[in-house]
Symmetry: D2
Amino acid sequence: MPGVPPARYAYLGPVGTFTEQALRALPAARGAHVEPYIGVAAALEAVRVGDADGAVVPLENSVEGSVSVTLDELATGEPLVITREVTVPVELALLTRPGRDLYAVRTVATHPHAAAQCRSWLARHLPDVEVVPLGSTAQAAQMVGGPDAIYDAAIAAPIAAEHYRLSVLASRIGDNPDAITRFVLVSRPGALPPRTGADKTTLVAFIRDDHPGALLEVLDQFALRGVNLTRIESRPTGSALGRYCFSIDCEGHIAEARVGEALMGLRRVCADIRFLGSYPRLDEVETSVRTGTGDADYADATSWLARLRTGG
Amino acid sequence: MPGVPPARYAYLGPVGTFTEQALRALPAARGAHVEPYIGVAAALEAVRVGDADGAVVPLENSVEGSVSVTLDELATGEPLVITREVTVPVELALLTRPGRDLYAVRTVATHPHAAAQCRSWLARHLPDVEVVPLGSTAQAAQMVGGPDAIYDAAIAAPIAAEHYRLSVLASRIGDNPDAITRFVLVSRPGALPPRTGADKTTLVAFIRDDHPGALLEVLDQFALRGVNLTRIESRPTGSALGRYCFSIDCEGHIAEARVGEALMGLRRVCADIRFLGSYPRLDEVETSVRTGTGDADYADATSWLARLRTGG
Amino acid sequence: MPGVPPARYAYLGPVGTFTEQALRALPAARGAHVEPYIGVAAALEAVRVGDADGAVVPLENSVEGSVSVTLDELATGEPLVITREVTVPVELALLTRPGRDLYAVRTVATHPHAAAQCRSWLARHLPDVEVVPLGSTAQAAQMVGGPDAIYDAAIAAPIAAEHYRLSVLASRIGDNPDAITRFVLVSRPGALPPRTGADKTTLVAFIRDDHPGALLEVLDQFALRGVNLTRIESRPTGSALGRYCFSIDCEGHIAEARVGEALMGLRRVCADIRFLGSYPRLDEVETSVRTGTGDADYADATSWLARLRTGG
Amino acid sequence: MPGVPPARYAYLGPVGTFTEQALRALPAARGAHVEPYIGVAAALEAVRVGDADGAVVPLENSVEGSVSVTLDELATGEPLVITREVTVPVELALLTRPGRDLYAVRTVATHPHAAAQCRSWLARHLPDVEVVPLGSTAQAAQMVGGPDAIYDAAIAAPIAAEHYRLSVLASRIGDNPDAITRFVLVSRPGALPPRTGADKTTLVAFIRDDHPGALLEVLDQFALRGVNLTRIESRPTGSALGRYCFSIDCEGHIAEARVGEALMGLRRVCADIRFLGSYPRLDEVETSVRTGTGDADYADATSWLARLRTGG
């Protein structure tokens, strides 16, 4: 399509991290211009000011980079919405310059969380190695493979091997083979992804008061409409000590009646609600709809009430 | 208005009861044709088949006639709705034929419940009297005042004195001076009484399952929308042993958003809901509307959701 | 057993009612001295002052005599407890003096509720009969069978036929063949009936405030411990307008941990709790105990907590 | 005290971080042997195996190092308990070698989260600087101040200036002056810190099923006893996809009746509960005790139930 500029995507850098791997897994990213940013805030800012059409940032369970940062950045500032989620298996590998072998490894650079996840493997195979903590696994790879290489090996994502021309000495060295990291693609508000029947909705609820039961009132809004939560985290709001907001993922799409009513309920009882998007679940698990909470049930109740109100 | 026949009202008879007194207190009953029926069922049936435009029946706390009967009759059969409530103070009086005095009273006829409510007074003033239980206080008055009078005195409503040409030997002889009976005016469904800001809504909820928490699910529908209940009674449903329905009065009018949403919620989670009317509270206590549950809050939430759904 | 006087039981009279029938169904009543009282209050008073060892009174769904009276009488005054429940099928019969036949019946005396329950039968078989409402079905039988008989027939319990030497012209003439009335045997507090695994507990909860959710707080105390309710009725408390108490039956015995904890919870959040007894269910339906709410679960949690508190 | 070896404390290293600052704020740490560990897991392991008497690790809102790691490490493995909390204001400073000034700064090393928190300050004062992300702020300070210094300045905690003999060019350069990090002191189970009236309790609840309302059941256990939550986070449990546990802080001490009963309730309804300690709140905010939930209320209810059970 001549004349149409390629889409531009920001992501939490540097190059060679799991975040880049998540971005590469997005069909939309093929042929797009992608650019790493230092810090989640910078990546999101690029979208807010229009330098990027979307940003890929970690939301849950990341090896490197706190999820809290993403949650907090999305909860404030110019509104953004999630339009996709991507999960990446945490496949940590031991990378060295080509030709090296395991016996020559004296120093291993990596992010501290990655080191923690490989503790058993390191204890077994490199008990005497010095572990050097760096700001990201990609940075570690860079400092192993570049011209000014100062460490013998790096624990990093396999994608880092390509970027920094390294060899994989050992792969899948993490203690938990099932570990995954969840990323999201974030954009400026616009047309929502269509409803698929297997969707997730993300939002932040700022509660009005901090009394026993305040959280219950919030959760009741979901429970009463049969809407299941898949993630909840209380987050302190910077503005006032002792005040909390709740970052929440629930099943279903805002276009569904029961999700819509739950959101309206939250809007009424909370100090503020920030809607952060409805988007397809990556695991494609269909939303289970409890008896009486489907769209047809809502439509029936609505017309029933209309009849009663007119004395019919 | 020549040519317009007067309204016809049925009521739980016989004449001279508290129910007649309640009916007489209704402005609409002035100039109307009123007729006593034996039994609540018969009075309601008169409305259902069109023999009467409305019926006055006891709903709560009656001296004579079980409220349960009214609840059960309204819960089944052709739908009827409550359009007014009336309360009558339970002012029991000792009635005799004119000229009699207290010392000559050997037998006192009355309804057993009325006798129970005058126990202290009887013990003090007529310790040796024989109390004769009859089917209603009015019937007792009749059997004291009529040509075939067989009892010396009756405990009955003051209104019975007029009807049966009796004298009031002692008034307000009930043990609880604050006792009141609540009656309702019941009609065929039609235009609802307008909302006044001090209204009540009555309904019957037939729950779907009989598990711990089934009732809670029903009540949560009210609580979540800040709708206060003023009466609740579980009633066994004849059809299946161990199954219950709930007869409920709540504050507010079905025309209000929060009451409407609560009713729709019930409609979705219950096996059936029978709406029995929204009507002005006699005590004119204004409905207290909790923060976030007013009509303006609902309107705001609705337009907010519409904006989100269109990506605005 | 010479020297031991027989037990004495009071019941809601007169003789020949369903209440007497309920009393006769009690094994404990065999050989006992039984005595009818006019009104529930009088029967209960007989127990309170020691004139009777127990009283049988209607609690639910009675043909004659309002249940409300029983509920209110048990909720106040000197404490009494329920030790047994008895149900009696509402088998209404048409009784006449021996030798009469249906064609000669012009007047039928009965309690108004009993008349209501036989409406279909009367419409079919005695469409032109005059129904005379009396204070009880037994009184009706008496006024048909006695020397001063003034009515042709009575609708009453079969037991009334024996008492008043009447013939049964037609039996089971009620519209609902499954209708039952529930009675309870009430005594002064003492050793509780032993736990059977199929028990019921009755109590009255006086709520502290009348706000939306006050009832929910009460019900949550049951739901959280998996205790199912089988009956609930709000009752206005005489003392203050707009204030309510709740009369409640729940499954289980106060000796069970989960019922005990629920009661303690009520005691803490309510203005007052009146315990009205734990007693075997007549239907012998075993209490279903939800996972985590059995006595073993409570014992385990208690010892677990003790370990934690001592740092173990 | 000759003969008594000094206490040994582990902490999340390296030296010169906010965690070390938190440790130094503990009275117990004076005169103690303190040792940095790479990674939260390693610090906790030191306590588990007896190499340290306690460990200080971040729990909430950390500048560097994900809180999730701490939560996950405490939720599994050999049990540990929190005995103290410490908060440290996030006072980020720009550090250089002595004698340097701001105009000479071309490269700034720091942890990415610290860089994010100083975005505004950097944009204003060092718009063209290159930000180098490292594994911790302390590591950045080290690479500025050591003999092999390769960066011009570091953003780090003030404590790092002492350790690495650096000057503070600018202090409090973070965007949010109120930002704090919360740390906890973790030990092997033993005698609990005494109750102060201003305490917190931390635990992990592993829910039994993943259905709508599962979380509500957990929270109801707290709400019903008037126990306020101050933090909640759902955490995926490694063992089974789609299963969650909840990491929770609540007000009050396990020695209090209402907290104890809530914990027993959780123990009964959850698959597992891990108690992580009761300890004084650093902010000394006294626990507000709702009517009916104090220890006296519990004691009263307990003796009341005992009386009822014995028929008293």
